[in-house]
């Protein structure tokens, strides 16, 4: 096993066909990505921590108790277009509507070359539209994009954790961040941001990363305001 000097990207692949899942999984592994495959848009949303069109941590949701489940950082979603129930397009829309996930790049795959379909997907925010069969070269094209997103996440994390040495900027957020709750098994409630709409370049942090990354990560949605509207867990300190 090669010790990856290059960062590991985690890709969520969605396809209802077992054959296609196997195929895209291998392709992604060959492109040095970590892969999770699911067979439907619903399962994809579940995996992302979204559910039935509203976010699990939606303040309007009936239950406000923390959801105890493991979430991992996803650097890319690649989905088939034609799927029963929820199409790839539907999934794309749901992802882009979610404040937690809208910054995850989404790529659509299809075995049919339908220009109207392609432009519809791109207009809705898909980064790319690949015709099947997808090739390794296609996936390698996505790497700069995933890298950019990953770096942005890291950068934002640095800004928000001034206790880290390399951070030169100190932003409004000064509270210690919890790095790894996997032992505790609790997920921090995300903070509903009440700040003004973010500019394109400043993206909401979806997840935090540890510099010494392991496979278990938690997902946190944070605003850049000190104005906290949700209670936070007290007494949990950094465990880096």
């Amino acid at each position: 096993m090669v010790m990856a000097a290059e960062p590991q990207f985690h890709v969520l692949a969605v396809d209802d066909s077992l054959f296609d899942r196997k195929f895209i999984e291998r392709l992604l592994q060959k492109a040095s990505c970590q892969v999770t495959t699911v067979d439907s848009g619903y399962k994809a949303l579940e995996f992302l921590g979204l559910r039935e069109g509203f976010e699990i941590n939606d303040p309007d949701a009936v239950s406000t108790s923390p959801v105890i489940h493991q979430e991992v950082e996803v650097n890319l979603i690649i989905t088939d277009y034609c799927m029963p129930g929820m199409t790839g397009y539907d999934l794309l829309k749901k992802v882009k509507e979610s404040s937690a996930c809208k910054n995850i790049p989404v790529v659509i795959m299809s075995s049919e070359n339908v220009p109207a379909r392609i432009s519809r997907c791109l207009e809705e925010g898909a980064e790319e539209f690949f015709l099947k069969p997808v090739r390794l070269a296609d996936l390698n094209k996505l790497k700069p994009l995933m890298m950019k997103t990953k770096l942005k996440n890291q950068k934002l994390e640095e800004i928000e954790a001034p206790s880290k040495d390399e951070s030169g900027t100190v932003a409004a957020v000064v509270e210690p961040e919890v790095k790894d709750l996997t032992e505790i098994g609790i997920k921090i409630l995300p903070l509903q941001s009440e700040v003004e709409p973010k500019q394109v370049h400043l993206q909401v942090v979806q997840q935090e990363e540890q510099t010494m990354s392991n496979n278990k990560r938690k997902s946190v949605e944070e605003g850049l305001s000190t104005d906290r509207s949700r209670p936070r867990f007290e007494g949990i300190t950094t465990a880096v």
Partner: protein, 156 residues
């Protein structure tokens, strides 16, 4: 180098080339092979196995859909053809894919006779391919057992 191994390798090379030349395989198959490595040494075999399982299932579905003593649901047939076209395209099964393209048009035209004939051809074609690929895998095994390495065949 062992003469026996060399001979087997030559045989293998020629066999693969003939599969391409006769249109059984296209460069997507080459792509598939390139995805196999030490980490996933059986990838091609696994994927092909899934493909042939798909063939059995889909051909069965289509046969049933076309075996109606009444109205045939061509969209149902078409949906299965679509799937088969997708997977055959992904493994590089050139002839099967080609047949599926025709088949699709026949479904759209609701050409019953044409569909039935085409389905028969698809059935023969995937089974033929399966046998050919089995021979290929057997050759690979022989080479390895003789102490040799399976050569990369350059299709150009």
């Amino acid at each position: 180098m062992d003469a026996h191994v060399a001979q087997l390798q030559m045989q293998y090379r020629n066999y693969i080339l003939s599969l391409y030349q006769q249109g059984f395989l296209d460069d997507q198959f080459t792509e598939l092979k390139s995805l196999q490595d030490d980490g996933s040494p059986d990838f091609v075999a696994e994927v092909l196995s899934l493909f042939f399982d798909d063939c059995v299932k889909l051909v069965g579905n289509m046969a049933r859909a076309l075996d109606q003593t009444g109205t045939v649901d061509f969209s149902q047939v078409g949906a299965n053809v679509h799937q088969l076209k997708g997977s055959s395209s992904s493994v590089g099964a050139k002839r099967v894919k080609g047949l599926c393209i025709n088949f699709k048009e026949l479904c759209e035209a609701k050409n019953y006779e044409g569909c039935v004939r085409c389905l028969q051809q698809v059935d023969i074609e995937y089974k033929t391919l399966k046998a050919k690929l089995q021979d290929m895998f057997n050759l690979e095994k022989q080479i390895v057992q003789a102490g040799g390495i399976v050569p990369q065949v350059d299709i150009n």
